[in-house]
């Protein structure tokens, strides 16, 4: 395959990944790396570099729109980002110590977990219990827009949320993905934030977390311009179209379908890692 053909195929696959990632809230990176490694036989380090950059592009593109809508909680975002940024730097350094097979196996396990979490996600998580003391100390409670006017929400289990964000950051640096699934888990499942607040706040900070690992990725030569160019452009345009479509559609069945794809890719990644074929 020559360079022009290769770049064209990559552009199409990345567009689809970005589109489905935005539509389902799982992000494009989680399918991009396996697609690059398994389909295009790209070395996993280059794949991680291209994916990490695309994650930043998607997050920056979507963030502005979401803040305007009034769902993003900047206080919660910045508080949790402390854990995520530190995790991201640790993850990026650890990635350099592991060989490709080990990274592939870890990646596969994360894919399996993401698919599982996404399939069982509960969208009604609000409760009437009072907020966690840290949430009061750091004034995290917020108000979100609803059809019947602004509505106040509470914030629970902040320490668990912070710990999970540290994990999300580490995985992000280690694998070159946004770890959207773990971030939403922290905010939606542990802290019990309303679904839209959790997803938009997660989207806002994903790019910042990824930027923390980017320096290490550049220095180690993981970011190849020829490979990253079609991937970044495809994912960016795909996620912008996906976010636009999202307003009008019910994405439940789509999310199940996408989760099954992720499940299959996870099994394939673990198998290839163990068989040392990556």
């Amino acid at each position: 395959m020559n360079n022009l053909e290769f770049s064209s195929y990559l552009l199409i696959v990345s567009y689809i990944a970005g589109f489905l990632g935005a539509l389902t809230g799982l992000g494009g990176g989680v399918v991009l790396v396996p697609a690059l490694v398994l389909l295009f036989r790209v070395d996993i380090h280059y794949a991680m570099g291209a994916s990490l950059i695309s994650v930043i592009a998607t997050s920056s593109g979507a963030a502005a729109a979401f803040i305007r809508e009034g769902y993003t909680n900047l206080r919660i975002g910045m508080f949790l980002e402390v854990g995520a940024v530190l995790g991201a730097i640790v993850g990026a350094f650890v990635a350099a110590l592991l060989n490709a097979h080990v990274i592939a196996v870890i990646f596969g396990v994360v894919l399996l977990a993401s698919a599982y979490l996404s399939l069982r996600r509960n969208e009604e998580t609000e409760s009437d219990r009072p907020s966690h003391p840290w949430a009061m100390r750091f004034s995290m409670e917020g108000v979100r827009p609803t059809l019947t006017g602004p509505r106040h929400y509470r914030v629970h289990n902040v320490p668990a949320g912070l710990g999970l964000m540290g994990l999300a950051g580490t995985l992000s640096g280690l694998l070159g993905i946004g770890s959207g699934a773990v971030k939403v888990l922290a905010m939606d499942y542990a802290m019990r934030l309303p679904y839209k607040v959790a997803t938009t706040t997660s989207n806002f900070i994903i790019g910042i977390t990824a930027a923390a690992s980017a320096g290490v990725y550049f220095t180690r030569g993981y970011v190849d311009p020829g490979l990253t160019m079609p991937v970044m452009l495809g994912v960016l345009v795909g996620s912008l179209t996906g976010a636009r479509v999202l307003g009008g559609t019910k994405s439940h069945s789509l999310r199940i379908a996408f989760s099954l794809v992720i499940l299959a890719l996870g099994i394939e990644m673990v198998y290839n890692g163990v068989a040392a074929a990556v």
């Binding site: 395959m1 020559n2 360079n3 022009l4 290769f6 770049s7 295009f40 036989r41 790209v42 070395d43 996993i44 380090h45 280059y46 950059i53 930043i56 592009a57 920056s60 593109g61 963030a63 502005a64 729109a65 900047l74 206080r75 910045m78 508080f79 980002e81 402390v82 940024v85 530190l86 730097i89 490709a100 750091f138 004034s139 790019g207 910042i208 990824a210 930027a211 923390a212 690992s213 980017a214 320096g215 290490v216 550049f218 220095t219 180690r220 030569g221 993981y222 970011v223 190849d224 311009p225 020829g226 490979l227 990253t228 160019m229 079609p230 970044m232 452009l233 960016l236």
Partner: protein, 110 residues
Amino acid sequence: MTLTAGVLLAGMLVAFGGMLYLLHHAGQPVHYHIFRGEPGDLRTIGGVVHEALTLSGRGLIQLGLVALVAEQLVRVALTAWLFMVQRDRVYVWITLGILAVLAVSLFRNG
């Protein structure tokens, strides 16, 4: 507003560099299955700027990618400014702390 504009600018830089790159290297075979790492010039900010100034396609793409990462620092700085306007001391410090970590990570490594 500034965010969207910044992403578009980085995207256009990448697309323009990509066209130049493909114009010169369209017919070459690809070899991404073996990890070699990028040449030294594309690993540091100074080197990337230098490559981009010679209008090399790969240099221009890389400059767009570095700009995209740098925009995240702008995003955090704007958030800090927002907290400053709200006189929210604790969050100004938290956000500036994140900014410092990001800056060290990008400029010490990149």
